[in-house]
Symmetry: C2
DNA sequence: TCATTATATAAGCAAATGCTTAAATAAATT
DNA sequence: AATTTATTTAAGCATTTGCTTATATAATGA
């Protein structure tokens, strides 16, 4: 891909194109960070896990396996991704690992949860 | 996968498991809808497109191709997914198609944009 | 009408994703 | 120490995703 500005439309607003590039450059860190959170939450299984953790406080992989009717390894692999991203954390009690949300880690997620809980139109 | 409750932990809270299932059942439509939006916005290219549309009002595929340094077909395919999902719409002016956000269609997205614009910690 | 421009669509392919099953860890119980 | 339980990790595989290139459609202008 060429790097120079190349949109050939007669109406193309070169200043707008430059401004857009600058906007993205300025926000690139935020976009990258938020994009990762959205990609994680964009999987239905993970969204359910996050939503339930928000509502119940903490749950273990075995619980999720029951609730979501999925194998424990499948759950465990989803959990790992979210833990790696710093969205959730764990506490051990005997053999059981209780997972919970890392609070204040994602205001975007918290906004989503509030919408889901209110059971409003959420699109 | 078995359908009955099967978590065998001594501490397993059967009422909690039932409550979680009921919660998911109640919110399943919302979860499904929001999950699709998050999956779309969870791609960095699409997130940038949505972000720029929010900021600039409307832009055409050619603009995005320039700004994001990607081929027009690549852009066009991302746009299609978001249009199919009802997140964006288009207006024709001669040969050019101007795309814009469908307002009020996703409050979740709007929340994300406001965070990005403020350039705050967004995780 | 023919060429040009803007966009979309389709086919092909490499990479990423999300499951499965089997094996490894770790803690509790016997 | 050996067994059971909870969880993780790893390997394998089918599906999905997101690009590429080539082709189709649609509008403009010579």
């Amino acid at each position: 891909m060429a790097l120079e500005i190349s949109c050939t439309r007669a109406e193309a607003d070169q200043k707008q194109l430059m401004r857009c590039r600058e906007t993205l450059r300025m926000s690139s860190n935020s976009i990258n960070t938020i994009g990762k959170v959205l990609a994680l939450a964009g999987n239905e299984t993970r969204l359910k896990i996050l939503f339930l953790l928000n509502k119940e406080g903490e749950l273990c992989p075995c619980d999720f396996s029951d609730i979501l009717e999925m194998t424990v390894p499948a759950i465990s692999q989803h959990i790992r991704k979210m833990k790696d991203a710093g969205l959730i954390t764990s506490r051990r009690e005997g053999q059981t690992l209780y997972y919970s949300l890392v609070k204040g880690q994602s205001e975007v997620l918290e906004g989503i949860f509030s919408r889901l809980q209110e059971n409003k139109k959420v699109a």
